[in-house]
Subunit: 257 residues, 2 copies
């Protein structure tokens, strides 16, 4: 009964309820006790009473790569927090141009909506599992859960800060600056999750990287090759990057003169 997948009318796979062993699936009382996020969890440190309210509405889903969690325009039913794996969110234009607006990993939180509708599509990058909470029930909790409400606000402010940074990247940085920034951010986020800084795993394909940075896959590939030739990094395989000279990458990322 784990990771069942149903085909949507358009043939894309859509996740269903999950039942599994990594803390995912045990709905209700003991689910959060098995959560392995530790202090990465947005519910970490909640007072007893608030946590109980959250646990009572907590659910879980598992994903396989390319599973769609929700589509742009869908009712914003759930808030999600990955336990493992990676998720991307993106917007599409009529002619197929795509802009990925975010990647989410262990402990992140996404699915916010100001108007009850999702403004973007969410799709799994890798297999994994996500903790999720019904948005409507969540809102009912806020008035009596000040710490929870405060933490959700803090998370959304962190997202806003990321967007300011990414807006600068998209609007004003060159391709090498974009790639250097991207790799360093991936590395830093890996560290925050407790993973290693240097052999960084790039779970998404070149096409996802390109659509996140406002480039083409060819430019992404060429730029990485150039970095490799300069001794800035190594690419043992397309999805692993060893940062050989993070300081130099930092200078490039910041437009060092």
């Amino acid at each position: 009964m784990t990771g069942r997948v149903a085909l949507g009318i358009d043939g894309t796979r859509t996740i269903q309820e999950g039942r599994a062993r990594d803390g995912c699936g045990r709905e209700g009382n003991d689910a959060c006790l098995q959560c392995n996020l530790g202090d990465l969890a947005f519910c970490h440190g909640l007072p007893e009473g608030e946590l109980r309210g959250l646990m009572s509405i907590q659910g879980c889903v598992r994903t396989t790569p390319q599973d769609t969690l929700f589509n742009e325009g869908d009712r914003a039913t759930y808030l999600y927090s990955p336990l493992s794996g990676a998720v991307k969110i993106y917007k599409l234009m009529a002619d197929g141009r795509r802009q990925i607006t975010g990647f989410f990993f262990r402990g992140d939180l996404f699915g916010f909506s100001p108007n009850g509708l999702h403004g973007y599509t969410a799709e799994a990058v890798t297999a994994g599992s996500l903790c999720r909470f019904p948005a409507a029930k969540m809102e009912l909790l806020y008035p009596d859960s000040p710490v929870l409400a405060r933490e959700v606000l803090r998370r959304s402010m962190i997202k806003l800060a990321h967007f300011h940074e990414h807006t600068l990247l998209l609007g004003r940085k060159s391709a090498p600056e974009k790639l250097a920034s991207f790799l360093l951010t991936l590395s830093q986020r890996a560290v925050e999750r407790g993973d290693s800084a240097s052999p960084v795993l790039i779970p998404m394909g070149r096409s996802d990287v390109a659509d996140y940075l406002g480039l083409t896959i060819e430019t992404v590939s060429r730029t990485l090759t150039k970095f490799k030739a300069s001794g800035l990094l190594e690419l043992p395989n397309p999805s692993t990057v060893a940062l050989r000279d993070p300081a130099a990458l930092r200078r490039i990322a910041d437009g060092g003169i």
Copy 2:
């Protein structure tokens, strides 16, 4: 005693406390009663008790063009909501490249920070006045002001939605698509504030528009000229745009095939 300005150590002008007649300046009890924002105000509709808490910490500043409200890296002391005028926020790179990440008008809210430091600089585009609230005192209000806390969260989610849209614009749209999107958004926001949709005022200069859209001033100017030649709009003066064919602009903005 209105709109006094002090020179910062770098010679840029920095706003000081204001005292004035448009609802700005009367600190304390009666300030909010004179507020002319109506339902645009983020404090609109707050229950009596919550509003009283807000009023007790409310303050006001006036700006003249190019006044700096705060710099990137400054302590995030205040949250701001313009009563009149326009404000831009931006990030700078070491070599001077600039990305404007937002414009704020009557009723908007800005100054959020997840870590106590501003991640961007805020500068007045025009003369005007802003309602402001000490961030630290604001946070003390949240636990006992669920409606206020909810509204601040809602505002930050609206900002997030704007960023998703703007990220798509920066990463994937052509110059004409960017300009068409920008003009339509300005127009729509004017309507939301109760202003006219079509002769739209563009309070910021070409250089601000360029730095917001990730273009150069030359490209902005050329593209507007092209739109004018196509009969899509008229430019009675550089800061006024009459949208002659909003539907066509919409098609362009969306990448109509």
